[in-house]
């Protein structure tokens, strides 16, 4: 049986994809993590998806805001899932 934390170790120093709470996603190189899933990502890109309501048409418009972070610590309690597949 492989434990989940053991599996994440296989992704150390590699690109990973993280789905976070509040419609945020991150990709970047995993440099460190702990049992809480606190992590450090290098050269990370965050995609934040939000919905805007068009005032005239009342249609829901989905927006994606991206930003780059050279080195970022992520608090584990916001993490939903991790994947080694970064082609999202």
């Amino acid at each position: 049986m492989m434990e989940p934390l053991e599996m994440i170790k296989d992704s150390l120093n590699k690109q990973i994809y993280i789905k976070l709470r509040n419609d945020r996603e991150l990709t970047g190189k995993l440099n460190a993590f702990d049992q809480h899933l606190n992590m450090i990502l290098e050269n990370a890109e965050e995609t934040h998806t939000s919905v805007e309501l068009d005032e005239e048409t009342y249609e829901q418009v989905y927006k994606q805001n991206k930003r780059s972070m050279p080195m970022v610590f992520i608090r584990g309690d916001g993490v939903i899932l991790l994947s080694s597949h970064t082609d999202h």
Partner: protein, 93 residues
Amino acid sequence: MLFFSYFKDLVGREVTVELKNDLALSGTLHSVDQYLNIKLENTRVVDQDKYPHMLSVRNCFIRGSVVRYVQLPPEGVDVELLHDATRREARGG
């Protein structure tokens, strides 16, 4: 303890703490504890026009549980050391 040690090594460096209420605070890392509570000195709010709520605050204590991200100096710490420390840590569970 991994990240507690990591942050202790970063004391004195400039960081930006992004909170779960979308507030972002830049400042000099003064200290950190086992809960990853953070004390910043020379605190500046990133979007000061939008958030003038902390104009008279220079030093602050940020509760670890309210942190979303901490933007770190890229040349902060040896990445190899982080990898090694992680491998040792995850084993102990």
